[in-house]
Subunit: 138 residues, 4 copies
Amino acid sequence: MKPDLSHEITLTPAFHDLDPMDIVWHGNYVKYLEVARCALLQKYGYDYLQMRESGYAWPIVHMHLKYTGMVVYGQAFKVRAEITEWENRLRIDYLVTDAATGKRLNKAYTIQVALEIVTREMQYVCPQILWDKLGVQP
Amino acid sequence: MKPDLSHEITLTPAFHDLDPMDIVWHGNYVKYLEVARCALLQKYGYDYLQMRESGYAWPIVHMHLKYTGMVVYGQAFKVRAEITEWENRLRIDYLVTDAATGKRLNKAYTIQVALEIVTREMQYVCPQILWDKLGVQP
Amino acid sequence: MKPDLSHEITLTPAFHDLDPMDIVWHGNYVKYLEVARCALLQKYGYDYLQMRESGYAWPIVHMHLKYTGMVVYGQAFKVRAEITEWENRLRIDYLVTDAATGKRLNKAYTIQVALEIVTREMQYVCPQILWDKLGVQP
Amino acid sequence: MKPDLSHEITLTPAFHDLDPMDIVWHGNYVKYLEVARCALLQKYGYDYLQMRESGYAWPIVHMHLKYTGMVVYGQAFKVRAEITEWENRLRIDYLVTDAATGKRLNKAYTIQVALEIVTREMQYVCPQILWDKLGVQP
């Protein structure tokens, strides 16, 4: 059975997130995804500080975003993040929805790989520490 | 014959673009792509201000980035942007390379669609003004 | 008697707020001040959207920040914002403190003036709408 | 005689620097100041990388900006940075002007102090390396 490795947060845009169209600038969604990703990884005790302690950095190697709606000032939205791959790379899928109506605003994913900090070498298999933290088997 | 609708700029990262790994934070590439895209569209007289004058906004609806290298402080890099679709949507492909060695650092694309500002309606075919500006046929 | 026109929020830094020193980049405090200022103005029903409706923009004309501490990843901090002038210009004073210890991290102020949107003219006296919203006398 | 420790750069705003008022968001000037400061310090061989090598970080402890004009998309502007104190702290004064007309847009200063990286201790006198690099006497 596939484990549930997901987490959801609710955000509202800051004024400085808006562009001249009076909507959130498209690049700022990358920040929202990161906030949701960090909250998710924190839940499993493997956020930025623990990653570094474990000897690995986890750079983003792929990022895809599909925009289907816009966010205006004052509009609350949810970002759901779910880990969907953990064997050779860490894939996280995201769904951004309007908090009031549930309307889909953005669908995205990111892919990270482990990079050993000391050697600066990419790992082609995720390190054991990730599986231990998530409580999964490769 | 396919027209050459490309442009290349050279940039260096700002200190505030760096993250704790001492490399450019992955989300900042979205800014570099935008700077290259705007420079390209300016060449054809159809950047943000002319878009607005023409009655259309061009929101990003898809964005994909593939990271194959890192950028450190002081490292010059090139961003090449090329328009590869203009019929129903505006697709731009990007290639980020190290300015000194030519090593590939990032490969990306963005897709934009025309949105009529007055009606807020998405256009399923690009407006004539885009083709006129680019000097292309749909 | 001077009215209490203050509000306090609690924040934690995002990973993308950090710089290579592994602390929050100094420029990001400007964002935190804005989030606190907007929360404060929202409390009085005079945030960005209501400002615009009232016919005025309120550009920042002065900004001063004094840094006395650093913020690291995972460190919760409070931002207290208080309106201290409202006659001819809107001055807001800020105090950023560590949420756990109360240690002062930053002391700042911003000054805004009313700009009539239609005429683009600076107002040398704050408009009545500000005083009505805040429940104060000039 | 006071040495001339100044440098000037010319910039144009990126689209993502604009806010809903269609002008550069006030917080982005902090980025422009930093770009000018780094270019100035690079001229003297004492930018971020050399600072780190010398064993010191130079955090900003004071920052003041006074806005007297606005920057719109496509508007070139100059940022002049000048070192005006170097004995106990590093003070840099900035002047932002419209590139075409010379109109003053912003006047600012930043103050940095040396922080020994190993001990994390603030220095109450600037280290000798700064004076050597700048070619000045304390």
